[in-house]
């Protein structure tokens, strides 16, 4: 019987984070100061030092290949790290493809996702810099709960602006945050200029991520003892997550395996980076490994094509083609096409794509939920909806291996469990996420009925 999982002893917990910036064949372009459009100068760095503690600003810009993980952080990582590596033999059996599938289970952390891999060090660096209070924003609460957990361990106040529409709909992560001692409020609030401005115009505003970020940043700037924390996109966030891939390499090695394909879902890029960057280092050094970033898309098809044309199969499991137009007189910004502008992704991940080190694939949410349900029914664990994108990519890679008649070893990041996201599964299982089912003539009637309304904007 094949080995199901690999645990590493605590002594194998990585002692350093890996910085892919040191190994890019072509260096990353520097971020530009939005005020000047120029690369950052000293005043810009000082400006950022008002947002983040300077030790994290320095880490953000470091070119060092390896960064030591502080003992205090290692001590907390040990609560759930090293995380186990599993073989998904149940999924393999279902797929009946010539593949071995392994996944790194990041759902074993207290908040249930990979996010505390960076929340803990961020809280630590704030603490040693003398910061007493951290602000952040959160949508449905994944990041907010991870940061709340981390702040509690370092005795730092945590103030979370949660987008009101999520605050009202998603009580469980809000309750997790409160249990860990955080102050979680529904944004917009009347405690910031940004929030007051929105409420003055619309007292019933359901909020947005942009408003919540504005409030959190404003609160951080307003007090000397307060800084802001971001759970994705930034270089130091990617850096902190690389414990995942380093552990996975040791675990694969213990099995005598090396992956042909490495897959992670990529929204802001941090869980993808965490698993993939240590393998991309190998790829840069000449190793053959395909690295796939699976991201959500909603722009998959020729606009007016029949539904069956959208997908390669009836189960909506195949990847959606990355190049499309949105129809008659509109050409969309090239999010998935040509220029590969990844507007939501971390610059380091985007750079890895432009360097040809990472292959992006996009999956519709129906395909991803189908994949997640298949995973839950074969492996038991219920994945986070974001994780389902990676599973959809795994299934697509397995199907491809089957078509090509090639044996492949696939490794992916199971970035979190979905036990606090069951409302999403409810929406999927009850059919609310599927296509709008109204007949074409009723849609046309609806559009006809609004055509004479005053135009907005």
């Amino acid at each position: 019987m094949a080995q199901k999982k690999v645990f590493l002893g605590e002594e194998f917990l990585p002692k350093q984070w890996y910085n892919l910036n040191a190994d890019f064949p072509t260096p990353m372009p520097p971020p530009l100061n939005p005020a000047t459009g120029q690369p950052p100068d000293d005043s810009f760095v000082e400006h950022m030092g008002n947002i983040f503690p300077m030790n994290l600003v320095e880490q953000e810009m470091t070119g060092e290949r390896w960064v030591d993980i502080p003992e205090e952080v290692l001590g907390i990582y040990k609560i759930w790290r090293p995380s186990p590596l599993y073989r998904a033999d149940g999924l393999e059996k279902m797929l009946d493809a010539p593949v071995k599938i392994y996944f790194k289970n990041e759902g074993v952390s207290p908040p249930g996702s990979h996010k505390p891999n960076t929340a803990v060090p961020q809280a630590y660096y704030n603490k040693v810099f003398g910061i007493n209070r951290i602000t952040t924003e959160t949508g449905a609460g994944q990041w907010g709960s991870a940061l709340s957990f981390a702040c509690q361990l370092f005795d730092i106040e945590c103030h979370v602006y949660m987008v009101k529409v999520s605050f009202q709909q998603k009580p469980y992560r809000r309750l997790m945050m409160m249990t860990w001692g955080a102050d979680c409020v529904a944004s917009p609030t009347d405690t910031t200029e940004a929030g007051r401005k929105v409420l003055a115009e619309n007292p019933d505003s359901p909020g947005s991520l942009g408003i919540a970020i504005s409030e959190a940043v404003e609160m951080a700037l307003a007090r000397d003892d307060t800084r802001y924390s971001l759970g994705s996109v930034l270089n130091h966030v990617m850096l902190h997550q690389t414990v995942i891939g380093q552990e996975a390499k040791l675990q694969m090695d213990a099995l005598g395996e090396y992956p042909d394909v490495v897959i992670g879902c990529a929204g802001g890029g941090s869980n993808f980076a965490g698993l993939a960057f240590p393998f991309i280092a190998d790829k840069i050094a000449g190793k053959e490994v395909q690295v796939i970033a699976a991201e959500p898309t909603s722009c998959p098809t020729m606009t007016k094509g029949p539904y069956a044309y959208d997908f390669g199969d009836n189960n909506h499991m195949t990847p959606l083609l990355p190049m499309h137009t949105l129809g008659h007189n509109f050409v969309p910004a090239p999010i998935h096409a040509g220029g590969l502008r990844y507007h939501g992704m971390a610059p380091m991940v985007s750079h890895a794509v432009t360097q040809g080190l990472v292959e992006p694939q996009a999956f519709d949410q129906i395909a991803t939920f189908n994949a997640g349900v298949s995973f839950a029914r074969t492996e038991g664990f219920i994945p986070a909806p974001e994780t389902n994108h990676a599973i959809a990519a795994v299934i697509a890679a397995a199907e491809q291996a089957k078509q090509e008649g090639k044996e492949k070893t696939i490794l992916f990041n199971w970035s979190g469990h979905g036990l606090v996201d069951l409302a999403a599964y409810d929406a999927f299982l009850s059919g609310n996420l599927t296509r709008y089912e109204l007949p074409q003539e009723e849609i046309e009637r609806a559009l006809e009925a609004i055509k004479d309304l005053p135009k907005i904007g």
Partner: protein, 90 residues
């Protein structure tokens, strides 16, 4: 009849990490749509046609045809704006 004919259509917002209705997405940005709305709802109903019907042409172009700012760019803009707000308050 009002603009809300498709407001009940639901999907999972990739930014928020939760389910939202089209009614939220079409008004989330100061009463105007989220720039992602065309992409997100394309599989659900003729969203492009909807917005062409209800938005002024220049608004449609401004929201949907400009390349989206990267997340980092938007964050940096937010920082700059917040600093300005606090400066004005002083």
């Amino acid at each position: 009849m009002s603009y809300d004919v498709f407001d009940h259509v639901e999907l999972r917002c990739p930014q928020l990490g939760g389910e939202v209705t089209f009614g939220y997405c079409r008004t989330v940005d100061d009463g105007l749509p989220c720039p992602r709305a065309l992409l997100c709802f394309e599989l659900k109903f003729p969203v492009e046609q909807y917005f062409e019907t209800v938005l002024k042409r220049e608004t449609f172009i401004r929201i949907f045809t400009n390349p989206p700012r990267t997340r980092l760019e938007r964050f940096m803009d937010t920082v700059t704006e917040a600093a300005q707000r606090l400066q004005e308050k002083k």
